[in-house]
Symmetry: C2
Subunit: 338 residues, 2 copies
């Protein structure tokens, strides 16, 4: 397996040689499920989750012992256009809050027994305003991909990638427009709390950004470079490193999903090791999940980012795996089958 | 507060004098939420859950330290009518499985740090076949209510009531028909796995049962006596004891919700201390939750009972409370507000 890359072409080479799940382990997990002390199918989606997890871990009776949450932070030149309710300095302030343990993601990672890492990506050097040209040079996006790649703990057995970056729903909306088309207004939402005129301005900025970066249209890795932020590219890099290590991933909200969508656009099937943790209240997230064919585990009106929805969904996946691997079979328990 | 009752009228007296939430604590929790380091509303339903929990616990910054799961088990005379895919002896076998730690609910209770108790209610003495008369005498239903009442740990800070009882979706469907009307077919579903002809027979049995017990129509406590099972009555007793102790409750699936509906029918507002943990794949559960005005936290196609959906949802509630009580405020973290 290649462990580094020095260009987008090098990263694309990795995408073309991704490992798949272990069909034998997955079938063995399904066979085990069929004899657990419950009516067939009675655990619903938990059964599918357990089999999916077993396949990626090559273990018919797996456990989740070392989940990792990584929060990537970046700043965005496009904030100069006034597309966020919060000032850009909040990105760095929130990184300090993550490091001090005071953010929502800290509480959720702790609750679900996950190690949490915070990777701040050149916060004093925002990406360029993508309405004036590409957000990043190729060297910059490759560096951010590599930062994400390097942040994954090879011993982790589950990954959540989260983000913080004032302005990054605008970046995510621009990526979605570049990859999936439609109107800019379909993808631009309230973010951290814009009013209607703010959303309207944001849609205009998104449209301008995609018009200014035609090479991003339908091209996942170019969309990441031209319209993404460093934290989006880092999430993409981490998600691919996880794939190479066969570490399953829980996707978070709109921004994480937009970063992931760049991978799927570049290589169909690149997200087969990912489940959607939740559906955000950010209006376009549901549509974006639909484009990726992902069904969210939770739908609780969350729209915080940071990996919070995915970290909460980690409890569901842990529940699925705990039932699958911990339950007695009919014969072990002496229970009559139906 | 009354601590015991010797008749359904005595239990009804308790229902008429239930304590409410602490509005001051709830308002203080809302005020705290407004200054936590996140955009307003960004945690969605988690914010409402935290405020609701704070109100019932009279604590603006609460913790969940001692959740309790109780699984009640009972047997049903109506199984003589052939309305389940599993034989009645499975109830006792599954009780042994619960006691040995091998069931789904054991794994989920353990995952979420809950104490788990199992209360088997006279398994060798099934309720009467309710198509031939009342399932229980008044003395029997009162005894089952009291068993549930007594099973609640007064030190618990969260309660999940689950059940096991071959035939009890038939009982739940009959209760729903008696309380909310409609057609028997609206409330009778596949349970543990009936085919279409089995479901059709079940609907007929449900209709016969309600016709045979006219005093159950629109009368919550009579429905519980005439159409319920001991485990349903025990869940109702436990839910009311929790209310008297101001212990919030997470409702489980169709059977738990039917038992709870008897309380709401008897005293509107009796379930204000309850949230719906999940929506079951048992088709009528969504309709029943709608009658109670409850919106489920999860919808994962589960239909196992045992308290499994509620125990999984406990992780969501714990996440809500952990964020609320553990996060830093804007001023504590030095983060700029929007």
């Amino acid at each position: 397996m290649r462990e580094n890359f020095t260009s987008l072409d090098g990263f694309a080479d990795i995408l073309r040689a991704l490992p798949g799940p272990d069909a034998t382990a997955q079938a063995a997990a399904r066979a085990r499920d069929a004899v657990l002390t419950k009516p067939p199918g009675a655990l619903g989606q938990l059964e599918d989750l357990a089999a999916w997890y077993a396949g990626w871990r090559s273990d018919a009776r797996p456990e989740i012992r070392q989940p990792q949450v990584i929060v990537f932070a970046g700043n965005h030149g496009v904030t100069a256009r006034g597309i966020s309710s919060f000032p850009a300095e909040v990105t760095a302030q929130m990184v300090q809050n993550f490091q001090a343990g005071g953010a929502a993601i800290n509480q959720l990672a702790k609750l679900n027994g996950a190690r949490m890492d915070v990777v701040a990506l050149e916060l004093d050097r925002p990406t360029a305003d993508f309405t004036k040209g590409p957000a990043m040079s190729e060297a910059e996006v490759v560096q951010a991909l590599q930062a994400g790649w390097d942040a994954v703990d090879a011993q982790a057995d589950l990954l959540v990638t989260g983000e913080m970056g004032i302005g990054n729903t605008t970046s995510a909306a621009a990526i979605a427009l570049a990859l999936f088309g439609g109107d800019a207004a379909d993808w631009a939402g309230a973010g951290t709390g814009l009013d209607a005129s703010g959303v309207s301005l944001k849609a205009q900025v998104v449209e301008e950004g995609v018009a200014m970066n035609p090479e991003a249209r339908g091209n996942g890795l170019k969309a990441l470079q031209c319209l993404g932020g460093r934290e989006l590219a880092a999430m993409a890099g981490a998600i691919m490193r996880a794939r190479c290590l066969r570490i399953p991933v829980i996707l978070d909200g709109f921004i994480c999903t937009a970063a992931a969508a760049c991978l799927e656009a570049a290589e169909p099937g690149a997200l087969d090791h990912c489940v959607a943790g939740h559906m955000s209240a950010e209006a376009a997230h549901g549509a974006l999940l639909g484009k990726l064919g992902k069904c969210p585990l939770l739908s609780l009106g969350m729209r915080l980012g940071e990996g919070s929805g995915a970290a909460l969904a980690l409890g569901i996946l842990k529940g699925a795996v705990a039932c699958h691997s911990g339950m007695a079979t009919f014969s072990e328990a002496g229970v009559s089958e139906g």
